[in-house]
Each structure stands twice: as structure tokens, then as C-alpha cells.
Amino acid sequence: MTTDITPEARESSRGKIVDTAQYGLAAFLLVVGVLVLVDAAGLKDGFADQPVQPYTFGYVIGSVLVLLSVLLTVATYRGDVAEAEGGEDVDLTQGSDWATVAKLGAVFVVVVLTISWLGWAIVGAFLFVGTARVLGSRRLILDIAIGTALGLLTWYGFYVGLGIPIPAGVLDGVL
């Protein structure tokens, strides 16, 4: 998905602003729509007590997604530009910093891959330290201290405070 997103809206030869990245969104809708349709086509007829066939909603939703994809392509070609969402810490006057998002994604992938093995206490701490540094924090010791404290506190909070057996991973028996 992220590769589709480029912030720069390009001026076309006729002087209209065309948000080329929006074609990417239209393509995404087309892919999802076709996926839903193909999936629906692969379903068998329902049971006798199922007046609504299992594929009915799939066909409707898939078709509409394809239609919306076409409409969005036309709207984009005509110069329709998305109104990006503002916010309290959002500065839309600068370009978008997708490198930061990619680094956050990398941290997140490591979390997903290691959580079953290392457990929440360690991985949670890593998640905090990693994302804080990517977002511009430069005090490593403090980051690690806060991350470790958060990881341990939430682990014990769930395990002891709420009585939810959150897996300890490699620290099983230590915590």
C-alpha cells in the first residue's frame, strides 16, 4: 500500500492538478473488488434454509467496489484532490515523511515476528524504544528506562491486576 502513496499532486499538461496517487487508491479498490467477486464465485449454493445465498453479498459488495474504483478514477482525472486530514500534531504545510513511516513499519514487523518467542514484556519495551527513536527521541537511556517500565508494568498489570494470563514468552518463569 505505502508504495502507492506519493504526496505530490502533479500538475497535468492542461494546468489541472491531478492527484496521481489517487489512481493507486482506485487500483487498490479494483483489486479488493475483484478479490471479493472471485471469492464469491467460488462459493457453493447455501443450504435450503438459507434464502440469502452466501455469495449474494459478495457479488453486490465486489461489484460496487469495482464501480467505485471507476468513479474515483474519473474523478481523479477531472482534478478531484483529496482533503488530507489535519490534526493537533499534524503539519500539512511540509511534504510527507514516508521514511519515518517505513521505519515504524520495520519496527512493527520485528514485533510481530518475535512476540511469540520473546513475550510481551521484552517486545513491548522494544516497540516503545524503537518507535520513540524513529520519531526523534535522542535520549537512549531514558527511552529504554521508560520502555522497560511500560513493558513490565503492563505485563504485571494484565497478569496480576486484571488476572489475564498474558504469555511471558522466553521470560516464562522469570517474571
Binding site: 500500500m1 502513496i5 487498490f28 479488493v32 452466501p54 459488495i61 515476528l113 486484571l162
Partner: protein
């Protein structure tokens, strides 16, 4: 009445009162953090309420809900940065007041106005919800189907500036709602057994709200710190009171009915309240420079609308705002299914919830008025820690559903979708409502057609269903007409929004 007193008896035990206080404190603390609106506050704090008894969880939850709402208005006033569209109008006058050194008065009129509106709104809720539920019980599947279609249509086409983008978001949500084996055959699971039960709505909500927002902010992080205005002591002069009380009541009168409608929301009543106060004010020259009426009215409207939202939620099981959608998820997690049978099946829980809404509202006033300067300090958390913390707790929330790395992977993928939605201006609400209502819609249609043995005309066989379709047709015509005309109220509202963000 007796039932409500029983509800208070349940809610007022020392343990439950403690849960209510914790809920209000947590809700306000998280809601005050920049970038976090009420819906996200509630979604992030959901895991905290697991594994306490349902009544304690509901009570804590009521506190989180009201705390989160109040936290949102604090950032609007002190930072000129509304966390969601319903507090946009509050920021208009509220931040001007703060810049004139009247932050404390703005926060106070917001808090007291919210309290009054919330209390009146909850009274109306207590009166209306059981009656509406009795009415709804008599409705059949065709009427339900019609009402749900109306809710989907209204949320998508009436709210929001771009209809096309609304429908894109809605149908992406409906596609996510297809995932699972609810019809007996695996749909959209791609052979993955972990998708057989569908995608947990908690994961969808946290991903779209929290992860999407954090990633979007990360891509555009403001490099300069925001200017934060000191609060001072919250205290209102006699003239502040005199100028506030009528706007509070008028705002409540606007907010509740809009909130109770399937397409109401909080944007329209807050804006109507603002216009009304500007017209009726004895000090019209102050508007645009920090008029207290312009904070009092819209804040009351916002809170009354939030109480109104609970009418369709409790009586029909129909969420009409992002926050209501998350509340519905929470209740389903407690094993409760809001809807017409809900009041009859769980009277003690429902009345405990209604009683705790009163209690949470009162606690909010008692706790937050004196603590306002403390909450304002939370605005100064360094941004890297703030957003790292949001990612941390969002991941914890998603992980705690099943303790499965697969859910975290889903969270990441849907988080990217949330990021893309913000980039392309796709509204979040239609997607979340689509995920929730899509499967319900299919269920109601199946039930209706099963009873009629496949005869499609059953869908318009009930008077309520016919009335709902007529309303939809009128809305459709109204939207098209409004779209053709320039200078409609909605475009005026857009202008105001842009002023705020500028």
C-alpha cells in the same frame, strides 16, 4: 424510577464508585493527549475493563466515555486543535478566550455545560430508551433491515464532504465484514483458519483509529512545539454564569434530538448552536474574539448529542457515531447485545449503566474542574514518547484479544489502511460502521426472507420499513439538491473548519 434507584444502588457500592473514579481519571488523562479523540480513548482503554465484573466494567466505561469527551474539549480550547469534528466549533471561541487569558473560564463553562447537558440528556435517555425499545420489539426483520440500511446510507452520504469517499470507505468496511464463516462457508479467509471467526472489530477499530492516526502524524510531525496557554484557576464570574446558562440549555435542546437520530451526529447541532448564540447574543461583537456563549452552547450540544446517541444504541443496537461504534464493541465484549431485548434481558445491568452515566457525569465535574491545570500539563509530553506510547498501547490492546501474533500483523496491515484513508481523505466512520453493520444486515435479510420463504416483497411489508425507505428517498433528494446549490450550510461549516485548522 424504582429500577433506576436499584441501578444507583448497584453503581454506588464503594468498589464500583472507585472504578468510576478510575474511569473518569483514565478517560480524561488519555482524552487530553493531543491527537486522541473520544472514540480512540475508548478503544485504547477497552482492555482495561476486561475481567472485571460486567457491572463494574460498564461503570468504569461510563467514566472513560465522559472523561474522554471532556478531554477532547480541553485540547480544543488550549491548543486550538479539536480531536474530532464535533469539537471544531468549541475551538472557534474557546481558543480565542484562552488567548485572552480566559482559558480557565472557557474550560469551566465547557465542563459545567457538559455536566448540565449530559444530565438532561441522560434523563431523556432514561425516559425514552425503554419506550423506544418496547416499540422496537414489535418490529420485524424487514424493518430492522430498512433501519440499518438507512443508518449506513445516512452516515455515508449525509455526513462528510465527499460522498464518493464516504461510499469507498463504507464498502471497504463491508468487504472486511464479509471475512469469516458466518454463512457456513469460508468467505474471504484465503484458507487462513485464524480468519474463520472474522476479523475482531476491536482490532479494526484500534488499527483504523489509533495506528492509522499515529502513522499519519509520524509522516507529518510538527517540528516546532505547539504553544500551550497556562490555565489559571477555573472560576467563573457572575456575568460568565449569566451569559452561559441559556446557551447551555439551548445547546442541549439542539444536541439531544440530533444525537438520537440515525443520521444526526454532533457536527450539525454544535454548529447550529454556535449560529444561534451568535444571533441571540447581547455581545455579538465578541464573537470571533472569544465569546463565552460560543463555548457554552456548542459544548452542551456536543455532550447532549453524545447522550442522544445512546438511544438508538441501547434500544436498537445501532451505532451512529465512531464513539458509539466502539461502545457497542465494548458491550459485545462483556457478552451484552444492545437492542430491543437488551432492556428486558439485563434490566439490572442497563439501569446500573444509566445510573453510572449520572455518576460519571457528576464525578467529571468534581474531579476535572479543580484538576484542569494538571491535565493541561499532559499536553507537554514530548511527541516521540506520546506517539510511541499510543503505538505501544494500541498493540497491547490488539494483542490482548487473543494473544496471537497474527492479530498484531492484522493490526499493522489495517493500520496502513488507516494511514492511507487519512492521506486520501476517506472518512473513518463509514468503514467502522460498515464492518459492524454489514454482517447484521445480512442476518436481518436472511431472517426476513426465511419467514417470507424467499418472497422479496416482504421487505416493504411493514409500515415502519416503508416509512424508513421514504425518509431515505427524501434524504437522497435533499443531498442531491444541496449538492447542486452553492453556499449550503454544510459548505459554510467547511469554511469554518478550515479557519480552525489554518
Amino acid at each position: 424510577m424504582e429500577l433506576l434507584l436499584d441501578g444507583f444502588a448497584t453503581a454506588l457500592t464503594p468498589t464500583n464508585l472507585l472504578f468510576a473514579v478510575i474511569g473518569v481519571l483514565l478517560g480524561t488523562a488519555v482524552g487530553v493527549l493531543p491527537g486522541i479523540g473520544p472514540a480512540m480513548t475508548v478503544a485504547l482503554l477497552l482492555p482495561v475493563t476486561y475481567n472485571v465484573s460486567p457491572s463494574s466494567a460498564l461503570i468504569m466505561f461510563a467514566g472513560i466515555y465522559y472523561g474522554g469527551m471532556y478531554g477532547g474539549s480541553t485540547t480544543s480550547i488550549l491548543l486550538n486543535t479539536p480531536g474530532e469534528s464535533s469539537s471544531v466549533v468549541t475551538a472557534l471561541e474557546g481558543n480565542k478566550m484562552a488567548k485572552k487569558g480566559r482559558a480557565a473560564q472557557a474550560l469551566a463553562t465547557a465542563a459545567i455545560g457538559s455536566f448540565i447537558a449530559g444530565t438532561i440528556g441522560t434523563v431523556l435517555l432514561v425516559v425514552l430508551a425503554p419506550n423506544i425499545a418496547d416499540l422496537v420489539v414489535t418490529l420485524g426483520a424487514p424493518s430492522y433491515f430498512a433501519i440499518m440500511v438507512l443508518a449506513l446510507f445516512a452516515v455515508t452520504a449525509v455526513l462528510g464532504s465527499s460522498k464518493l469517499r464516504g461510499f469507498v470507505a463504507l464498502f471497504l468496511g463491508l468487504a472486511i465484514g464479509l471475512v469469516g464463516t458466518s454463512t457456513g462457508q469460508a468467505r474471504m479467509t484465503f484458507g487462513e483458519a485464524k480468519l474463520a471467526d472474522g476479523i475482531d472489530i476491536v482490532i479494526v477499530a484500534v488499527a483504523i483509529f489509533a495506528i492509522g492516526e499515529a502513522l499519519w502524524v509520524a509522516a507529518h510531525l510538527r517540528r516546532k512545539p505547539l504553544e500551550i496557554i497556562p490555565v489559571g484557576q477555573p472560576w467563573m464570574s457572575r456575568s460568565d454564569w449569566r451569559r452561559s446558562w441559556m446557551p447551555w440549555l439551548r445547546g442541549t435542546a439542539y444536541g439531544f434530538p440530533f444525537g438520537a437520530l440515525p443520521a444526526g451526529g454532533a457536527e450539525v447541532p454544535t454548529f447550529l448552536s454556535y449560529i444561534t448564540e451568535r444571533r441571540l447574543s447581547k455581545h455579538p461583537e465578541e464573537f470571533g474574539h472569544g465569546a463565552i456563549e460560543g463555548v457554552a452552547g456548542p459544548e452542551a450540544a456536543n455532550n447532549a448529542s453524545a447522550a442522544g446517541t445512546l438511544v438508538p444504541l441501547l434500544a436498537i443496537g445501532l451505532p451512529t457515531t465512531a464513539t458509539a461504534a466502539v461502545i457497542l464493541v465494548a458491550m459485545q465484549n462483556y457478552g451484552l447485545q444492545p437492542g430491543p431485548q437488551f432492556l428486558d434481558a439485563n434490566p439490572e445491568l442497563v439501569w446500573a449503566l444509566l445510573a453510572s452515566l449520572f455518576i460519571a457525569n457528576t464525578l467529571l465535574l468534581l474531579i476535572n474542574l479543580p484538576l484542569a491545570p494538571v491535565w493541561a500539563k499532559l499536553l507537554q509530553i514530548p511527541r516521540p514518547y506520546l506517539y510511541a506510547g499510543i503505538l505501544f498501547f494500541a498493540s497491547l490492546g490488539a494483542y490482548s484479544v487473543n494473544f496471537d501474533a497474527f492479530d498484531l500483523a492484522l493490526l499493522g496491515v489495517l493500520g496502513l489502511l488507516g494511514l492511507a484513508m487519512r492521506r486520501f481523505g476517506l472518512p473513518v466512520l463509514p468503514l467502522v460502521i460498515g464492518v459492524i453493520l454489514g454482517p447484521l444486515l445480512e442476518l436481518q435479510l436472511t431472517q426476513a426472507l426465511a419467514i417470507s420463504q424467499g418472497d422479496v416483497s416482504t421487505l416493504w411489508s411493514e409500515p415502519v420499513a416503508v416509512a424508513v425507505y421514504i425518509v431515505m428517498a427524501l434524504l437522497l433528494i435533499g443531498t442531491i439538491v444541496a449538492g447542486r446549490r452553492t453556499g449550503t450550510p454544510s459548505s459554510e461549516l467547511e469554511d469554518e473548519k478550515q479557519e480552525v485548522s489554518a
